[in-house]
Point group: C2
Chain length 249, copies 2
DNA sequence: CGACGCATTGATTGGATTCAACTAAGGTGG
DNA sequence: CCACCTTAGTTGAATCCAATCAATGCGTCG
């Protein structure tokens, strides 16, 4: 079951053939544990492996000269950290474990070989890259043109939906390990103002958030206030999404 | 000379072999003119061609329900509009011509065929995609964590360097067709405040900007105030950048 | 010339930051 | 088992950066 989220995610695009999945699993054996708050990959690194989050949450971030931090993406189980660093040389940003993370290591060469041979897999990975880029665009919009209230709401909508697609949400409730500091660094706000904003979202009975669990009380209304349009996540062409056709160890 | 900027850009990565370039040019024959302020591609489109800017400036943007606009990228000669829409289905954002633009149309299939046969070209295009993503990350940082003054300065630094790499800058001076409205939509500010910010940049004698021309008077100091670190554009591994090895019509 | 697009400047308002104090929850060790 | 410490969350008051509202300047083009 270790790789359930990864498989579920890749299945979202093109229905992978059993052989695709099986082959993928054979090369993703090596797993590393990273404690919370430590870098999984640091800026300037030249990773030899491709890293995939199989468990826990992580964040892409950049530091500024004045010491402030901007998070530019959250990574949840099934997300790839650095699918393409090979081409770019070194990392231009860091990836930090928000919670304790388990990360699968895949030797780049093996992945390249696999992508060359298994078309479905190659397509799925290219799709994942493009969706990452699309999410990034929506973050620019979010930070650039929405109020703090809408901004936080939008981020929650995104994470709610993404967690759903990897099967980690039930009854609109899911693990939500982000502290207000982290949320602030992701939305371009301060922790204090994030606090007040969350308070308002709770008062409006849109969410319930405590002890690391988030419940979306009213998905429709939360999406309304956020101006959330899920099309940017490009999930529509999803095939019926049956249970994975191979038994996952 | 029409495609000089495109070639220069692709040459930046891996030095393309003459055959790569020649092949590329044979499939990029069809050119479309788009007047300023019109969409080159609109949200929801399913383009059958890949579009490349050969002349003029364009902008990727998203509209919000309340009518405000956020620009998420600028496209200058040599930039691809939609290298990968094929995979995602429809466009999740629009691309508008900021000035009158000439756009080369390439049939997607032909480009795919070319990438399969010419490795250098395929690498160059993948690199371009990754750099676009990296720029997007830096925009999130810019809008999320910098003051208006630093923010505009940073954008100017980016455009200055990008225009340089496609050979459109001389003596730190180049065509700069962005109105204050457009700049505002790109930086997440209002036009009024953009005006005051530009005024300050002029007063500090960092730039000179009028009638569509921008001169960077002090590159070093402008980069300092902006906190500009060019590494995110991934230009370092550039080969010596000789004149293109084929004669371009 | 008049109209329109773009740039400029002033006055006022307001959303978010900053600074600071305090509470709540959890973990550790004497 | 409770005292102590740390981390995360909460609240208030003052301040400030940028938005808003409004008026004016200026150049271009039909």
């Amino acid at each position: 079951m270790l790789y359930r989220s990864v498989i579920t995610k890749l299945e979202t695009v093109a229905s992978l053939r059993p052989t695709d999945v099986a082959e993928f699993l054979t090369i993703a054996k090596n797993v590393r544990q990273v404690p919370a708050k430590l870098d999984i990959i640091s800026e300037g690194n030249r990773p030899e492996h491709v890293h995939v989050i199989v468990d826990g949450w992580a964040a892409r971030y950049k530091m500024l000269p004045n010491g402030s931090r901007q998070i530019v993406a959250f990574l949840i189980p099934g997300d790839f950290c650095d699918l393409h660093v090979g081409l770019l040389g070194k990392m231009d940003h860091g990836i930090v474990a928000v919670t304790r993370c388990r990360v699968a290591l895949i030797v780049s060469n093996e992945l390249d070989r696999l992508m060359a041979n298994y078309n479905g897999l190659a397509r799925a990975l290219r799709w994942a890259t493009l969706v990452d880029e699309s999410i990034l665009r929506s973050w620019v919009v979010n930070i650039g043109r929405r109020t703090a209230y809408q901004r936080v709401a939008h981020l929650l909508c995104e994470l709610h939906l993404r967690m759903t697609t990897v099967g980690l949400v039930s009854a609109d409730r899911f693990d939500f390990p982000l502290t207000q500091d982290v949320l602030a660094d992701a939305t371009g706000m301060t922790a204090v103002h994030t606090n007040r904003t969350l308070k308002k979202l709770r008062q409006e009975e849109l969410i319930e958030l405590h002890s690391g669990k988030l419940t979306v009380l009213d998905v429709v209304r939360l999406r309304e206030v956020a101006g959330f349009d899920p099309s940017y996540l490009h999930l529509e062409q999803r095939s019926a999404l049956p249970e994975p056709t191979v038994t996952v160890r």
